[in-house]
Symmetry: C2
């Protein structure tokens, strides 16, 4: 029997959506309808904290514009960012009769965004989603980049997909209902953006920390806008985190381990703040980061009224916790390190992460788990 | 307070993978290793029917080439294509310690492909997957197009994402272990490709039906190659099924309803065969499809030794079942219709689906649920 010569059939997969807009403006929530894609119905997914604060307003506004809109909420908190909640939300969406021409609106902080976007991404192979972040952390960080996910027993965010939003609508005025510590937690990610990518942004946050903490809408808008630009530029280069996007993990290798060791009682932004300090310090100890950099990070975090340390943890447990980080690709612990404020260091062979000896990381971690903020 | 002027920050999302190869060749399974992407480990996901037939061979071959490889299997059958099995497979993958640099190999038929690709797509936001279809249906249809999914109480494939494979490796020789009725079921989708897109393919299947049914490797390779080319060309134009990809649903509106009404005891390919007949006939009744087309479809299905009818169902229940089809975007039942063999009909306003009155669909359905194959 003669058989055909070896050959492959090439299947092309062009892309539909290649860009989306992030709208940052005080009061823009009232114009949400004008940023929505056409859809047969809109389903707002939110949690039980955000629903009473902003849910009715959003729902009424959509219905006022003649749109079919419903609201699904779930019990707030990272503990509910699970496959079980995802299943329930999906089934409720099916129960509403939503088809493939529906649109999800993710109204809330990072947990809502991660979960609602995963529901949208996996519903009939993908509904469009408009993200309406209601925390500073979600505005500067979580709502941009297309990451969705839920936590499982093995770790956080281990199940999820990339699903980029149709648009992100960030209204600084909604932050007026945010608890002060959540506001400060959000600043930690903005500090990170400055530290890894833009010294001017870093310095600007320092100069405007009090305006930001008092929720001056102009200052908050400027902060969110610049952070989104910075994060967006990295995401654009590397949407699936195979390369330079890893820079956004600065502060997070230690930060995630601190969260893990705290039993996730620590606010993400607070863990990141300590992580930023530790990883800046680790870079100095390794001779890679310019001396004085960790002090500048510490000084800015203090200006943002962020806690500088996470007392009561064991350094070795924190180090062991890093191994659970899904970003770990090899046995050696690799960490993003700064060269100076505003620029990350690359290895001689061009990598964005550096393998650090355990004792260096241990010393740096030790400095952020002291009993007191003795810096 | 002055606020910044309304503005949006544009976030670009470039694409990583825009094409993949489908390799169709007798014996190619022995060269699987040469088509894999680099990965720290390979995890073969399959079911308990396929595992003893091909699992050990694939695993040994990978390990023989120095690759780290494991096999996860689950209980075969559409009834297990659920979120629960997805959860279990994900947790077992986590238990193996697979990181983001792992690669999934989906070894099996459509159920394995749908499930394994969904596991890969949602594992740490996406692992690459190589599909190794082991049924004719999966080779000509399921393995190409990037659809993943599981069934839920509300219906089939309602939860899933698009996740295109790194490559598809189709070895006609693995079909030697396939039950004959599964082989015939696979031919139904190939008949569909000819009917909607290529009269020459349609006629070629007729002329080669006996070679195909006796698993002549050359004939099977040619069938799979042409079907993949045809399906690939449609997927390339419309990867997310917003437009012309809907043509691939020809025969499936009725087919899915027949499956539903049979309690999913009917083989998908058998339901599609009856669906192809019914929808060709419906088009004739509506004056859209050329007279004689349904007879040509019937004649080819008979040559492929496919059952021509699905006795014992109630026509009205079948019609009601169509409403559950997630492709339904409106109250009226819209169906893809042929103009002639090899070409679909468009509506006057350019749509690929036609709204059909219930009585027309009812009559066409009636003809494929008669007690006997009286055609």
């Amino acid at each position: 029997v003669s058989v055909p010569a070896p050959r492959g059939i090439r299947v092309e997969v062009p892309v539909q959506r290649t860009a989306y807009d992030v709208i940052v403006r005080p009061g823009v929530l009232d114009e949400l309808h004008s940023f929505l894609p056409p859809a047969s119905r809109y389903v707002v997914i939110t949690d039980h904290h955000v629903a009473p604060l902003h849910g009715a307003r959003v729902l009424d506004a959509l219905r006022g514009h003649g749109l079919t809109a419903d609201l699904l909420d779930f019990t707030a908190g990272e503990a509910n960012k699970t496959r079980s909640t995802w299943t329930q939300l999906t089934d409720r969406l099916l129960g509403l009769g939503a088809g493939r021409d529906a649109c999800v609106i993710a109204l809330g902080g990072g947990v809502v965004g991660d979960l609602a976007c995963l529901v949208a991404a996996t519903y009939m192979r993908g509904l469009p989603v408009v993200q309406v972040p209601t925390t500073l952390l979600a505005m500067v960080d979580a709502a941009v980049g297309g990451k969705t996910g839920v936590d499982v027993e093995h770790g956080k965010n281990l199940v999820g997909v990339f699903h980029h939003p149709h648009a992100v609508i960030a209204d600084p005025l909604v932050l007026n209902t945010l608890p002060p510590q959540q506001l400060r937690a959000g600043l930690a990610e903005a500090v990170k953006h400055g530290a890894i990518l833009d010294a001017a942004h870093f310095d600007w946050i320092h100069d405007n920390a009090q305006r930001l903490l008092s929720l001056d809408p102009e200052a908050v808008s400027a902060l969110v806008t610049r952070s989104v630009e910075l994060k967006g530029s990295v995401v654009a280069e590397d949407p699936r985190e195979h390369g330079r996007r890893v820079l956004l993990n600065f502060g997070h290798t230690v930060g995630h381990a601190l969260e893990l060791c705290s039993g996730y009682t620590l606010l993400h932004g607070f863990a990141v703040a300590a992580g930023l300090r530790a990883e800046a310090r680790a870079g100095e100890l390794a001779g890679i980061t310019a001396d004085g950099t960790a002090d500048r990070v510490t000084s800015l975090l203090r200006a943002c009224e962020l806690p500088l340390s996470v007392p009561g943890l064991d350094a070795d447990r924190v180090l062991d916790g890093m191994r659970m980080d899904k970003k770990t690709r090899a046995a050696a612990q690799r960490v993003v390190l700064l060269a100076v404020i505003g620029r990350c260091a690359r290895t001689d062979d061009g990598k964005w992460t550096h393998a650090l000896p355990r004792h260096v990381l241990r010393q740096a971690v030790q400095e952020v788990i002291r009993d007191r903020d003795n810096v």
